[in-house]
Every structure is written in C-alpha cells, then in structure tokens.
C-alpha cells in the first residue's frame, strides 16, 4: 500500500461524509436505565408482586439487598455506556464503584448462604422462575446491545462484563419483587447465577458483537 492509496482512501471517506450527531454515552445510559426500570416494573406487575411484599418492604435486609442491586446495576450500566466511546480511559477510575458494590453483594450473599443453607434447589430446578427471569432479562439485554452498538468501543470485553452485570442486577431486582422465596441460596442459584453464566459465555462473543 502506498501514500497514493491512503490519499485515495481519504478522498473516498470525504466523499461519503454525512453530518453526524454526537451521541452522548450518558444520555444513552439514562435512556437504557429508564427503559429497564419501566420494563422491570411492568413485568413484575404483570406476573404479580410477591404475596408478602408489604411485609418484605418493612424488612431492612430486603431493602438493603434491593438497594445494593440497584446501585450495582446503575453504576454498571453507566460504566457500560461510558466504555462504548473510544476515549473511555478517563472513566477507568470509576471501575472500582460497581466492582466494590458487587463484592459487597457477594459477601452479603455468601454470608447469608452460610446461615440459611442452599434451600431446595433440586425440587425447584427448571421451575417457572426460569421463565420469569428470562422475561426480566431478555429485552434489557437486547436493548443494551443495540444501544452500545451505536457507539464505538475499544474495550469490548470489559464492556460486555459490565453489561452482563447491569442486566443481571436489574433481573435480580425483578425476581426479588415477584418471587416469594427468600432463601438466598435458592434464589441466587436459580434466579441469578444461570444468567450470569449465560452472560459470561455471551461475553466471549463480545469482540464480534461489538465489532465496528
């Protein structure tokens, strides 16, 4: 390839130039968060909130769990969309926030797991919870892929990890609103972990998925 060919490429690119709108990652993040919060609430209402929702809302541990998941979901989604622009280096410091919240959540879950045990995972394996979780996560996952592809990421794997985290956290909140089972082992292994695993495998395709 020669300098003439580079000049030809420049000419061709200038010929194809069309006015473009600067896409703000924060605006896309807020759009997604709004969409996912509305969607999660709508799905929870459609399926039906858990019978003991009033009693659960008065429990500090339940509120703490929801707030922790909400905080992790919000910060992970902000990180996802910030990573969808090339000059995302400046946001690297923010990596710590969702990861710290996730660590707190995992410590909290493992601590409860130690005291509450695994529950009856075998009996509830492949129950309706799977369909409910799929309902909660499919549309947000599709939406995040579409909105992220509007950007141009230079860190596809990190972006995919945060996207998986964001979708899983909102899915988890949705499930905690509809599923009356409070045993953390059961809820975690049936409602959360399978989708994180699926998300991680999807993350392996991140380079292809977010190629530009």
């Amino acid at each position: 390839m020669s300098t003439e060919e580079i000049d030809q490429t420049i000419q061709k690119l200038c010929g194809n130039l069309k006015p473009v709108c600067c896409t703000n990652p924060l605006r896309r993040a807020l759009l997604w968060i709004l969409l996912v919060v509305t969607y999660t609430s709508a799905v929870a209402m459609t399926i039906g909130l858990r019978e003991n929702i009033v009693e659960a809302m008065n429990r500090g541990d339940y509120i703490f769990e929801l707030l922790l998941a909400f905080g992790t979901g919000i910060t992970a989604s902000l990180m996802t969309f910030w990573l969808s622009t090339p000059d995302c280096e400046r946001y690297k410091g923010f990596f710590a926030v969702p990861l710290t919240l996730l660590s707190v959540q995992l410590v909290w879950m493992f601590d409860r797991l130690f005291f509450e045990g695994m529950g009856s995972i075998r009996e509830n394996w492949l129950s309706h919870c799977w369909i409910n979780t799929a309902l909660h996560t499919t549309l947000p996952a599709i939406a995040v892929i579409i909105l992220v592809r509007k950007g141009a990421t230079v860190m596809p794997c990190a972006l995919a990890s945060f996207a998986v985290l964001a979708v899983s956290e909102f899915g988890w909140i949705g499930m905690r609103l509809v599923c009356p089972n409070d045993n953390v082992g059961e809820a975690y292994f049936l409602n959360f972990l399978p989708y994180v695993v699926i998300g991680i495998f999807a993350g392996f395709a991140a380079k292809k998925l977010f190629r530009w």
Partner: protein, 198 residues
C-alpha cells in the same frame, strides 16, 4: 525567581501532548466539529494532517514497516466510523490515539494468529547457490562423501528414502527388506552420518 525554576505553560502542555501542541489540538478540535456537521473540506484537511501522527505511533510497534500503511488505512476507516462518538468538549488527540492503539492491537493479534510474523515474501527468500557458493557446495560435497562411505545396504536405503523420496513401504518392496528392517537400517545410517559429519 531563579531562571531555572521558570517553566513556561507551553512546555508543560507539550509534555502532556507528545504528538502536537495546544494550537494544533485546538485546530483539530475545530476541524472535527466542522466534519461532524458535514464539512468535507475540513474533514479532508483533518485526515491528511493526522496521517503522519498515526504512522508515527503505529511504526514504533509493528514488526515490519511494510504493513504500516495497512494499519494507517484501518485507523482512517475507524475514525470515519466513530466520528459521531467524538465529544467536542474533550481533546481530540486522546480520542484518536485510543482508536490507533485499538486497531494496532487488533492488527497485531491477527498478524500473530495467522503466523504472519513467520511468513517471508517470496522475493526476500535467500536460497544458497550451491554452484557458485563455495561454502555451501563444500558442505553439500561432505554429505555426498559421507553417504558414499556408508555400507551398500544403508546407502541404498538412504538414497531411496531421503533423496528419491520413496515411502518405507516402497523401499521395503524394492530392497526386499521388511518395513521395520528398513527403519532400523535408516536409523543406523543416520547415526553413522551424524558421527562422520560431527
């Protein structure tokens, strides 16, 4: 204040921005903003001005300068595709360098995966000329002499297997030896050649 302690703002800025100065940065920012609004002339100036910067960054880490322009072209296409992601409030150079590094890494990954680093262009291959190169021809003659000194059966097996390229089975049919006897003879012949040529 002592003169040695006086550092101008310009020099500090130059340290932060190794590929240009504040004036150039501002100029590029203005050009990108115009390009985003569809001004092809500004876009052409911008792309032409950034090519040497891209080339300089890319050249430092590529295994061969011949492929530099391929990567430069890839970067130009990527700049075009990602033009809408540039925020005019932010400096242009870090945005550009992020794309350059991403494409460079991408290229190197593909290059090493396809073993491009082990491929040599046909015109660069050096084949020793055994007729005119005395060193090469003497090595060749030493091997011929060593084979000539082997016992008749071993010499025949070496010639058929290694020089004429017959398979073990074919050599077995030609010589009347069993296949395993051919392998053993070949092994012994190679041991002798190794001793002679050492």
């Amino acid at each position: 204040m002592e003169p040695s302690l006086l550092i101008s703002n310009a020099s500090l800025y130059d340290r932060r921005m190794p590929y240009g100065n504040e004036k150039q940065e501002k100029r590029w920012q203005a050009l990108v903003v115009k390009a985003q609004s569809g001004d092809a002339a500004s876009y052409q100036i911008l792309l032409t001005e950034i090519v040497p910067v891209i080339r300089r960054v890319v050249l430092r880490s590529l295994p061969s300068p011949d492929i530099t322009d391929d990567v430069v072209q890839e970067v130009l296409l990527s700049v075009h595709k990602a033009l809408h992601t540039y925020d005019s409030e932010r400096p242009f150079t870090p945005w550009l360098l992020a794309i350059v590094n991403f494409r460079k890494t991408d290229f190197l990954r593909q290059h090493y995966a396809s073993r491009g680093n082990r491929q040599v262009p046909l015109e660069s291959v050096e084949i020793p000329d055994y007729l005119s190169n005395s060193d090469a021809s003497s090595t060749f003659r030493d091997i011929e002499n060593a084979i000539g000194e082997l016992p008749e059966k071993q010499k025949e097996v070496v010639e058929l297997l290694k020089i004429e390229g017959y398979s073990t089975k074919e050599v077995s049919e030609k010589t009347g030896l069993s296949e395993s006897a051919v392998k053993v003879t070949m092994h012994r012949a190679l041991q002798k050649l190794k001793e002679k040529l050492a």
